[in-house]
Subunit: 271 residues, 2 copies
């Protein structure tokens, strides 16, 4: 997938969830999903064998801030009707990552060839939803201004383990003026199903982040002198936890290439 | 008013708003009102001549975070039925401060002798209400642990002027661990009528506070290394603004000796 392909594809972005999925399903779009179907919820994908699914579901329920489940399938069923009527999880993500024993064995745009009758699909809420709400309230998101990926950090906060699933909480960081940080806490509190309120503000060393300028994932977006770093639980947490387990088989979305649903971000606001 | 008097009086604190007011009205209680009628709203008092009242009302409406009005009287009327049916503002505050041309001319426990037909009473919400909610959620308030008065600071943030009323925002500060600061922002957001969410967090120098260890009012409660200072708009703001105007006549409550109402703190929660 070259940058040119993405740019050409992004010339006329689908505006509805169904249009986005149809374009993706029929191979007309294979790029990042940021900007597709504005206002619709996008989700992180994790597909696991049924033998691991019960523990992973429990892990998510024990750690709802990094792992907000918005959809789960029946074993072997490629449908997720709670997210969209027509959804086919085998085709509707622009690009996947297929793992065997912890190693990437492919990054296809369709997983028909990998499908098994024991696979359970988990879709987890993502920060796109609350970022939309922050932007609508006039709060600057530095990584967007910069055109970079949000900086993410492994923390000293441990998730609550379930079966083999365990590991550190990963957080994303957005620098903000203190008054915007207060407003951002208020706004994201309204969205508990998509990471919710921040987990930390102001003192990265207290959560095991030694150098704010060196994110573990994503790119730098360092706070200025008049800003505080604000930290949210991040959907990379479950991905990192799954990677550590090295399951005999699993499939995730390719970074940035999320599942576009028919649910609206506003549906997930509690008030 | 000696400490002994307060301690003796506090031996059996009135538990209802009416009992508190009756004890105060009949001279059986003249101490600080903290701890009286738990769960009831207490208010800051400012009594001004009608000639100044319209500007002051406008000032409060322009600056609702430091000046949350919960009751206003008719000129010359000592009743405030929106706060309690039996309330008599001339007797129901334990101790008053009477000012003439900006100078304190008395600190009586009853203001019958000072009453005038043109006086308008303003009652403003106070931080006791949101502090109760914070304590109920298990958040430590350092000044209470210490048994001291909350530290307050003049800031570089200007209030919006109305007539002669103008001056800096005064804030109170409570040190908290970052996760408690986030929770405290959520909790106090529910109480917009009693100062509401913080106005600042984390960087006192950005709001003109040069030394956190030197409050302008109250006593030190310095943040520890693992804490952030959290700042709320403070009811001392209107008191300082009125003092600067040096009105020909005005009456306030004596510090710590508030008006105990029949309204419940929970009535003021928006959700």
């Amino acid at each position: 997938m070259s940058a040119a392909t993405i740019d050409r594809n992004r010339g006329a972005l689908p505006q509805t969830g169904r249009d986005a999925r149809l374009a993706i399903r029929h191979g007309r779009y294979s790029g990042p999903t940021s900007g597709l179907a504005p206002g619709n919820v996008q989700g992180n994908l994790a597909i696991l064998p049924a033998a691991l699914a019960a523990d992973f579901l429990r892990f998510c329920q024990l750690n709802p801030k990094p792992c907000p489940i918005i959809g789960v399938s029946q074993p072997g069923d490629w449908r997720l009707p709670m997210l969209a009527d027509d959804l086919d999880i085998r085709t509707d993500v622009p690009r996947y990552r297929v793992f065997r024993d912890g190693a990437v064995i492919g990054e296809p745009t369709d997983i028909h060839a990998h499908w098994r009758d024991d696979l359970v699909s988990f879709v987890l809420g993502c920060s796109f939803s609350f970022e939309e709400a922050l932007i609508q309230e006039g709060i600057e998101l530095r990584h967007m201004t910069q055109g970079t990926t949000v900086p993410m950090y492994r923390t000293s906060i441990e998730t609550i383990a379930a079966g083999p699933f365990r590991g550190p909480l990963v957080v994303s960081m957005r620098p903000m003026k203190p008054s915007d940080a207060i407003r951002a806490i208020q706004i994201t509190t309204r969205f508990p199903a998509v990471h919710g309120a921040p987990v930390h503000v102001g003192k990265p060393e207290l959560i095991g982040i030694a150098d704010i300028a060196k994110p573990d994932f994503g790119e730098q977006a360092n706070p200025r002198d008049d800003e505080l770093p604000v930290f949210w639980a991040c959907g990379v947490t479950p991905q990192a936890v799954i990677a550590a387990v090295k399951p005999e088989f699993c499939i995730t979305h390719y970074p940035g290439c999320m599942l576009v649903t028919d649910r609206r971000n506003t549906e997930f606001a509690i008030l």
